[in-house]
């Protein structure tokens, strides 16, 4: 036994060469895999693409936002709530804003130090507590010292701030604008104001209060749990005046959508894989019957049962790879034309892999039957 038996690679080459004879079962096997793969893309693939689009919409910045409102300022929502909720599990960022106060350029004649009674144009300002997230703040410095301010788009010109910086003052507030900012979703409403940084402790007097606290969660599916945690963490004088708005219904909808589509997809994919396995098994049984004399000759020449099994499985695998690859390419084109988007990458990779596995599974019984063929019985039949 000093010579090795045919190696796996040479078996693959041999199986590929022999796919031409007989050609019909080869083409049928390729066609089955092609049709099965395209069907999956045309059904589950489109559903998965729609699911992905829906979830992307639901999982938007607005969808992930918890808004705590003390509309009349009667709840006494403390700025310390910002740092209290910021580090809750699942929280991405949290900022709070106080009441709106008009401010003007403090250096404009008649405006400086006049507590808002000067002749310069005024713009709304809001005290902001907490670190502004980069995902929200498109431009501008993120970390400000208390008393520093950022002006919204275009407001520096309204305030006549040279180079966009300079002191501003209002009836109860003084600050220095050190730059500008542009806020994105979900807090674009801040763009019409000057944001003045305040310490979370609530200022020297400790009497600052929040009117609105925005808390963004990392994943929309966590919003209900985080909302409860936020509610329990708020530092507030009278919780009965607090109103919390969330997209919890959207979150629940997303969970339902994922669950329903996953169930439906599993059913479709499972049924189709079983069907493909059965069809491939039927085709391979036919192929084995047609090749009985060839298999008997090979066994007589010394091919082991393992070699015969591998030969059948490799043949099926090659047909499956060709069919699944062509089906995937076609399925992607169909999905792109019909839905205008592509299925998720995991789906695109998983479908052909599962199809090939189904074809191999379906080929196991015919391969075992081929290996069990009695060469003598075959050779004795003229």
């Amino acid at each position: 036994m000093n010579r090795p038996h045919p190696g796996f690679l040479s078996l693959v080459v041999d199986a590929a060469r022999r796919l031409r004879r007989p050609i019909v079962p080869t083409l049928v096997a390729v066609l089955i895999l092609f049709a099965g793969t395209v069907s999956l893309f045309a059904t589950t693939g489109l559903a998965a693409a729609s699911q992905q689009r829906t979830l992307e919409r639901i999982n938007s910045p607005e969808g992930r936002l918890i808004t705590v409102i003390d509309a009349q300022g009667e709840a006494g929502l403390s700025p310390e709530s910002v740092s209290a909720v910021r580090f809750l599990s699942g929280v991405d960022w949290a900022i709070g804003v106080g009441p709106t106060v008009d401010v003007a350029n403090a250096t404009v004649s008649g405006g400086g130090g006049s507590r808002g009674a000067g002749s310069g144009l005024t713009v709304p300002s809001r005290a902001v507590y907490g670190e502004l997230p980069t995902s929200v703040l498109d431009t501008g410095p993120r970390i400000l010292a208390p008393g520093q301010a950022l002006s919204g788009p275009g407001l520096a010109a309204v305030l006549a701030l040279g180079d966009g910086v300079g002191p501003v003052a209002g009836r109860t507030i003084d600050a220095v604008v050190v730059g500008g900012f542009r806020a994105g979703p979900p807090v674009t409403m801040l763009n019409d104001s000057v944001l003045i940084s305040r310490a979370d402790s609530g200022g020297p007097a400790g009497q600052d209060r929040l009117l609105t606290l925005w808390v963004s969660v990392g994943d929309v599916s966590q919003i209900a749990a985080v909302t409860e945690a936020v509610r329990a963490t708020l530092i507030v004088a009278d919780a009965s005046h607090i109103r919390i708005e969330t997209s919890s219904e959207l979150a629940q909808l997303s969970v339902d959508v994922v669950s329903d589509l996953a169930h439906s997809a599993r059913l479709t994919v499972g049924s189709l894989l079983v069907a493909v396995a059965i069809l491939i098994a039927t085709v391979q049984f036919g192929r084995v019957s047609g090749m009985a004399r060839d298999i008997g000759r090979r066994r007589a020449l010394g091919a082991t049962r393992t070699t015969i099994v591998l030969h059948i499985l490799i043949s099926a695998g090659l047909c499956a790879v060709v069919g699944a690859a062509a089906g995937t390419a076609t399925g992607l084109v169909v999905a792109s034309l019909v839905a205008g988007t592509l299925p998720p990458t995991g789906f695109t990779i998983g479908v052909p892999v599962l199809m090939v596995l189904a074809a191999l599974t379906g080929s196991v019984p015919p391969a075992i039957r081929a290996a069990r063929l009695d060469p003598v019985r075959i050779l004795r039949v003229p």
Binding site: R21, D294, L301, G302, A303, R305
Partner: protein, 213 residues
């Protein structure tokens, strides 16, 4: 390789008459043994048993003293691939492959290096006068040429055992002479050669004969 059979017995069905009954014999290396007998006397069955393709109902088959029949099927197949050259009565070539590829298949199954196998296959095809048919399909060659190609396939791996089951039954006298000469040469080179034949005249000339009843 010394091949011995002891108390060999075989029946194809549990209740049928035995095709081979209490048969014992030694096939010496370097000899060509002709097995003769009427149709149904068990010549082909004996060939298949000796070549480890068929498990007998009883008795033992020994190769150089080892009971090879008791080995698992995969091991017996490997032994057959490596040591046995078999010439079938009807050539039994793969109709979808060229003559050369048919010969190479035996070398491939035996695990021979492709270049060595190809070189020896071409040498044998040339030796047996079918080199010009190397790229033809079996359907494009005569019966005599097909049997000579089958002989090349049996000899390509330089087997130590050669079995031939009625190898000249369908051949013209020239082709038959080539086949007999090749088998005799294999024996002379040290192989154990066993030939089942109806050709009593040819068998009579051989020093080792075995008559099955």
């Amino acid at each position: 390789m010394l091949i011995e059979v002891e108390a060999l017995e075989h029946r194809f069905t549990d209740t049928g008459d035995p095709v081979i009954r209490s048969f014992s014999h030694r096939f010496e290396p370097g000899t060509l043994t002709a097995v003769t007998g009427p149709s149904g006397s068990g010549k082909s069955t004996l060939m298949y048993i000796l070549a480890l393709m068929l498990t007998p109902s009883g008795g033992r088959t020994l190769w150089d003293g080892d009971d090879v029949q008791a080995l698992p099927d995969n091991i017996r197949s490997r032994l057959r691939a490596q040591y046995v050259g078999f010439v079938f009565q009807d050539a039994l070539l793969d109709p979808s492959q060229t003559a050369l590829d048919n010969v190479l298949e035996a070398g491939w199954l035996a695990g021979m290096r492709a270049d060595v196998s190809r070189s020896r296959a071409r040498m044998l095809l040339d030796r047996f006068g079918v080199a010009e048919r190397a790229d033809h399909l079996p359907g494009q060659v005569s019966g005599g040429q097909a049997q000579r190609i089958a002989l090349c396939r049996a000899l390509v791996k330089t087997p130590t055992i050669v079995f031939a089951d009625e190898p000249t039954g369908n051949l013209d006298s020239d082709s038959a002479r080539i086949v007999w000469t090749a088998l005799a040469d294999a024996a002379q080179e040290g192989a154990t050669v066993v030939v089942a034949t109806h050709d009593r005249a040819r068998a009579t000339d051989l020093p080792h004969r075995l008559e099955l009843a």
